[in-house]
Symmetry: C2
Amino acid sequence: MSLVVQKYGGSSLSDADSIKRVARRIVDTRKAGNRVCVVVSAMGDTTDELLDLADAVSPAPPERELDMLLTAGERMSMALVSMAIANLGDSARSYTGSQAGVITDDSHGKARIIDVTPGRIQAALDKGHIVIVAGFQGVSQNTKEITTLGRGGSDTTAVALAAALKADVCEIYTDVDGIFTADPRIVPTARKIDRITNEEMQEMAASGAKVLMLRCVEYARRFNLPIHVRSSFSHREGTWVLDPTEGETVEAPIIAGVAHDRSEAKLTVVGVKDSPGQAAEIFNAVAAAEINIDMIVQNVSAADTGKTDVSFTLPKSDGQTAVKKLKALKEKLGYDHLQYDDQVGKLSLIGSGMRSHPGVSATLFQALADAGINIEMISSSEIRVSVVTRDDQLDDAVRAVHTAFGLDSSDGEAVVYGGSGR
Amino acid sequence: MSLVVQKYGGSSLSDADSIKRVARRIVDTRKAGNRVCVVVSAMGDTTDELLDLADAVSPAPPERELDMLLTAGERMSMALVSMAIANLGDSARSYTGSQAGVITDDSHGKARIIDVTPGRIQAALDKGHIVIVAGFQGVSQNTKEITTLGRGGSDTTAVALAAALKADVCEIYTDVDGIFTADPRIVPTARKIDRITNEEMQEMAASGAKVLMLRCVEYARRFNLPIHVRSSFSHREGTWVLDPTEGETVEAPIIAGVAHDRSEAKLTVVGVKDSPGQAAEIFNAVAAAEINIDMIVQNVSAADTGKTDVSFTLPKSDGQTAVKKLKALKEKLGYDHLQYDDQVGKLSLIGSGMRSHPGVSATLFQALADAGINIEMISSSEIRVSVVTRDDQLDDAVRAVHTAFGLDSSDGEAVVYGGSGR
């Protein structure tokens, strides 16, 4: 008997009717002979409504209390899903994150799961119940306070529980059919990906693909847990995220997809003295403010000045903090001035086939040149190439690259299989 | 430094503005030099909205899951009150019933508090925090499941916590000014009671007075805890519910007030054999169905038939169950037929002065006779006389009795002080 962990997001739980539809799907999974543990998010707009309420009583509510408030959302949806299952004649038990043994660190609002002790869940499953667990929440190890995991936290709850329960699969139900070769809102010809390696998925998520959050993919990869991302509105197969050793690596496409990200800004420190240790001082200052930087470019020093420019990208939300921090250190660092630019976008091309196919970057740059798009920064990993462009050119860039690598669905079966060398 | 436990009901927490007003009052109490522990109900209509949601997914939801759902209501209000306090510059910590150590039995939806272990609350108070606790909820001792206490449960939470914390007073904030000599909607001249003994309050609550629930008063009486019932919309003194040894017993009025109750029905078993044990069999059958009966009347046996009628009152909500139960035993009990009547009302006159003033019943019956109201059943305790009337005559009866005992506010100071003998 298989153990299936399913996760349903807020868009699949928008009202009583959709809750009943989800309950039917859960019961069907159970009837098919599986043990079922379900992780739910808050219904539809509940979290936003709770945030509005919080905002109405306090402009800057304490994070502990905000977590207490927001966790009411999943509590409601888990009880309602459980009731809807009972109404179909099956037995369900709902558990909060704390009851389910989701142990986190103490960081309210962005807690990390550090352990899962699913004793009560296991016991309820052993008794034949369907188990419903509140996503997005846990209890802190030291202070025993209620915490929330931050964005995408319910996916992480599902994967962490699936790993702890040694589930056979973790099904992530959402309002789209799976992972696409690019965002279909930008590239109408984007295709659903049937299988993707968890390594590729990790790069996709890190590069801005929104369907699965990075932490959830990292967790699944660490525990070698298959994820099936699929729509709660159909019964079609979605996208399987698998360990590469389990995929058909020989026949895999070179390129898995094109991701984009508009959440970053570019900060340039102009006129830095070109001497050893200057860059380190800059990045130490930024790191001290707990700001994650992404891409870094340092220009070659102009021979007559002995000065250089250092650019890096960082989350827009951290932009003002970083600027303030570096301004405070202007004298110590000895640079000329700062340039902050939040009108940039990032395009990333991801595919494990890049390892054996060195021509990928050349094709990428050519496609962007042909489309008249200027590249401002470049970075790459083993299976990813990322470029920064003007924000208003990003959509064109994504479409041009998607076409250049033969990913458009109008190309039919002309997927880029191994051996083309481009 | 005094320890004050305050309880705010849903009508005092209807929206963001009223939450802020409550927060201001809590902070003022703290600033006056008290330690403060606050118990909150769910905001305004939240509980009804949650029940509607439950009803939309299941006509008969499992009670465990219903408790899980409903407890989200207090979770939201406690977090919001806590945030509003923080916004005023004071520090507050909110705790669920489970976290506050409210231990109950296993009866979902109507759990009874069997212990309070307020270790975390005490620790938070000791650190100087204002503590906000979710009312109406607890955790079951054996199964560690989330439970709710049923109607008026937040008042009971407040009194139980106050007793466990050895608080100096438990303030129950509501949307009326205190306890009145009768329901002001029926008797516009009803007066607010300044002090009432907890014994009288217990009889008032048991007789249908709605401001304080019976279980809460019983709890306060057992632990000899002063309750102050007052309005959250004003700063006027409300009604103090005190141990009689602490009140000015000598000068206490004979009559505390007139309560009424429309929640009961009358069931008459007609033509019962007038032999020993017949009544016992009837009431054993009703008791076996866990139905609480209130008043009982047995007619004198008609000499020529050897048969008698037995009437009793019971909650309307249990009426059909009782009828079914007794019908099933018709042959065994050997009665003629059943008469079920839910068009009745009960009036109760309460006052500890009755002990020393035997004329009270006579005055009561005369007042009702003068108003043309027929009495169908009578019962009394040491400090209470109750009569059953037609439902549509109950309001007139309450007004007539209120006037007859000089309780009307137009009487000014003409309160019935000791010694009148009527």
